[in-house]
Symmetry: D2
């Protein structure tokens, strides 16, 4: 059994981790740290866990009792955590923030997108788990980059659910405002662009293309919808073959032959890809659940790889479907 | 032209008042007070008013320039306002809080439900505008009370939209929580019970019946859905006649011969009533928009009555329908 | 391995069964019959199953190859099926329609509510799986009936999601109509009343009380919200003890000490109960997912009991939470 | 008073026309034709009109009694209607289908986008009312085209509400499917491209640019959200000036200085435009209500122009805001 600690246990991504790990056949949640909720039952915060667990949040950090910790604190906090805590050499770390996603001197975290870096993840000590938009967009583009086929401008329309913005109530997460509403934000300057471009260049070092991304706040709770397009000179069939070959050995990403709806991946760790060729453009639809494949599910997928398990262990999740 | 001042202009009910009054053919918004937003454009807070008005919020209270003020501050604040401000004798006041709804010594506010108190409203100086749940529930029960026919227990299921809880973001107004969700609150102890019972006793002084009301938070923004039932010994046709006769002279309340959906009253000042008799029970469906007939529209209806206008002036609002 | 056949495989309840059974460690889906979809991939109809299964719908009914069949056809069709097909003696049947829920001469189906009939279910050949409203309402009332404490009128407010009405598009399931809408239907005459009363009388034979139920169409996809109340002379603590004792040995029903939101049971087989005492009334909130505990999850729970498995096998489902 | 006839009165656009025209101070609905609903009360089909009108649908077509007819039948039906009916010379026609939007020999309909063709509309006999996506997208691009500034590829992300697909229930308008869902359709081949390109070329005859449009089905009922971008060499301030100057004399289109949410135009005839410059791209957000500015409101705006009224007559609609 892999012994797990969770740091920052009261937020959305920690809740999803718990929902997954409590049923994971090879993992055991040893402690869940939360400074704001220490002493409270986990099921009083993540109320759907009523009856699933009697664990309480703790302020303690018993690193020696666990094999891996997941960092689920806000962005910026993980860096601080790593600097102020002396972790045992044997302890693996999976960080869900953006603090360690970009390569730079002294950063020994492996970027944890299994469809890009599976072999490195297997032997990594520390993982920087990708962002939600970043995951959905990379799944749309990596097969082309792997073939060096990102030749011109890349255009991304991507819509996110409200859970992507976390649990702190804000004006744009107010039900009265958001219900039946749509709005753009961080236009052409979303913070996930850096990690996306880093990955595209990893596969296609020449990539320095025009990259356009207008993020949109959707009127739903879970799910990332991406419609990307770029120039592609081959046929639709050739495109499909490139994607199918690329994802053939990756158990969570599927190329659909029917035009899909976003909800079919909600509450799963899947990515669904759909392709159409029009004129000289290849249009790629990419669907993921921002909290699972875009966060906590992918974190567990990384844990599985790091500990030599089948990638899918504990991730055969029932889709919500409706 | 009726000159209008609004106190507490940044909240939901003030926004709705402005949306109505800016198109009211006989009213003119003279000032809109807001301490938190003084100096800002109204259309920067109520953004849908872009292009409709150039008025700014003010901290001033130029009472002498207006004929009527609407109090749109939080509950408790209206009482404080009336105590600390010396108002001109000629100035009429319409209070949207619950501060003056209950009769008590020294309270000279008339309870502003036109279907109950139209004649008193016409000559009132001060109006206590009813609560949203209170409006929907009273429209369901007043015709029976007027006939002295509330003989046994009264049972109310009523569901409110998120705008009923105001614009301050809270845990239960968070989109991620509320979307697709339902929950009960203030079970059997909602603060509107007092005004409802007061009105029922006004029409049927003997009323001291078992009154049961479980308020439910709905997964929608606007609208109050009420399903009430009570023992009724007559036929369904007799019930319909009682309701039709009662509402015949009230231009905003209609008895539907088809089972209605709540959304058909949204964005209007209407009440829609529907009746079915089963066994010895009369079931009454009552539909209203919590922000209009349940708040700001009714406040304008009261203003119209107080100033001798047709009740409907400025209230022929386009339903949103979808 | 339990070998399973599904009859009527294209509808919502069959889809949910498949989502559960494909991950069930002790069951194997042997065939899925659908006359309208024979020859099509299951994952082309239940599109979220892309990558989970390569099974196709069939027109065949190879009864001898399976241990149990689930009947997922429309109401009325199960009776017809049982009359026109000669089933092997050893074949167990779990029917999700209402055709066999009411006891009558010649009906050998056991009513499959484990919290009521667990021992009978364990030895049953045929099961009539309860209705969704019926499940939620019975979970709210059974503990009182078991104590003979349903003394007066019983009042039910219950709200259902759109999936309760099946997948055939209708006027009231049209998104443009239903979004942000609420409406009552089958007022005081819902078809589930019969099975509810049958169960209440099974536990409290004297029960002949005034039973009031106004079903409401909610603006959500999954979930049954029930708020029931009835006279109760004991204290809130006594009520809680009665419910906790009753559900203590039932692994899917939990008494919450916090006022819950419906969504916390969505995508699970759980029931969550919450109690408040006001004046002489006990108010009982009961939450279930209409497609799982109210249909396909309960059907699998029944299968587990019939085949000697732990009731929870394959039913540790990840809640969707948001 | 302008006397109005509506052909095809039972659908969504006819309902919206009625909601607007019943309160229009200078128009009078003389007849509403519907073959499927002849003899039924209008308020039994458009149920929110309960109490607003006692008109019944008719099968008659008393052309001589009206000054203008609105064609609200399905696409293809308007052409048939014009061919089979002999209309009085003085009768004006406003067609809401796409049948006459594209210029071709013998088509004497003026394309009814007032922001493009106001002077032609004023003297037109027949109007082809623009499509909903087409309206939102043209409002985003016309000011650039008017300056000849569409120099490179044009990229459109646009999301529509469910009412855009009409009232016939379909799989993708089923609440259970559509709620919380997103999907692309008619990728790069939406039928509105023709009218958009026609208008862009009208203003910038050289326009033959790469035009990219992936339409998305949104999880809301009303509203078109457009985020468009194209290369622009000037500054953000220069862009804002171009747009403000262009829309200065058009009373329904406003340039917002704050990043807007789509819902702020819902239930109004407004267009709201917002601009940001990033790198060498100008990003244009354009918001409209698909049923009003994108259909029936614009049709009334055209009627106002054709009959010499102020464009805004009857179109000061209360926004729903929430």
């Amino acid at each position: 059994m892999i012994k797990v600690g969770i740091i920052g246990g009261a937020g959305y991504t920690a809740g999803e981790l718990l929902r997954i790990l409590l049923n994971h056949p090879q993992a055991e949640v040893t402690f869940v740290q939360s400074s704001s909720n220490a002493g409270n039952l986990i099921s009083d915060v993540h109320v759907d866990l009523l009856g699933e667990t009697d664990i309480e949040f703790t302020e303690e950090l018993p690193f020696s009792k666990v094999d891996v910790i997941f960092l689920c604190m806000g962005h910026g906090k993980s860096k601080e955590f790593m600097e102020t805590n002396q972790l045992p050499d044997s302890l693996k770390v999976i960080d869900l923030s953006h603090d360690f996603r970009l390569k730079r001197k002294g950063n020994d975290f492996v970027y944890g997108l299994p469809e890009l870096n599976r072999e490195e993840i297997k032997v990594a000590k520390n993982i920087a788990n990708p962002g939600c938009f970043a995951t959905g967009i990379q799944l749309a583009l990596l097969p082309l980059a792997a073939e060096g086929l990102l030749k011109n401008g890349v255009h991304i329309q991507a819509i996110t659910g409200s859970t992507g913005a976390g649990q702190k109530p804000t004006e744009t997460s107010h039900f009265s405002w958001r219900n039946n509403n749509l709005s753009a934000y961080k236009i052409m300057e979303h913070q996930h662009e850096g990690e996306i471009l880093q990955s595209l260049k990893q596969l296609q070092p020449s990539f320095a293309n025009d990259f356009n991304f207008v993020p949109i706040r959707g009127n739903h709770t879970r799910g990332i919808f991406v419609a990307a397009y770029t120039r592609f000179d081959g046929s639709e069939e050739e495109a499909k073959k490139i994607y199918q070959d690329f994802y053939n050995e990756h158990p969570f990403v599927f190329v659909s032959h029917e035009n899909p709806g976003m909800k079919q991946v909600v509450n799963t760790n899947k990515g669904v890809i759909y392709l159409e060729k029009h004129n000289n453009k290849l249009v790629i639809i990419s669907l993921t659940d921002n909290l699972i494949k875009g966060a906590s599910g992918q974190a567990v997928q990384n844990m599985n790889l790091m500990f030599g398990l089948d990638e899918r262990t504990g991730l055969n999740l029932k889709p919500v479907a409706f």
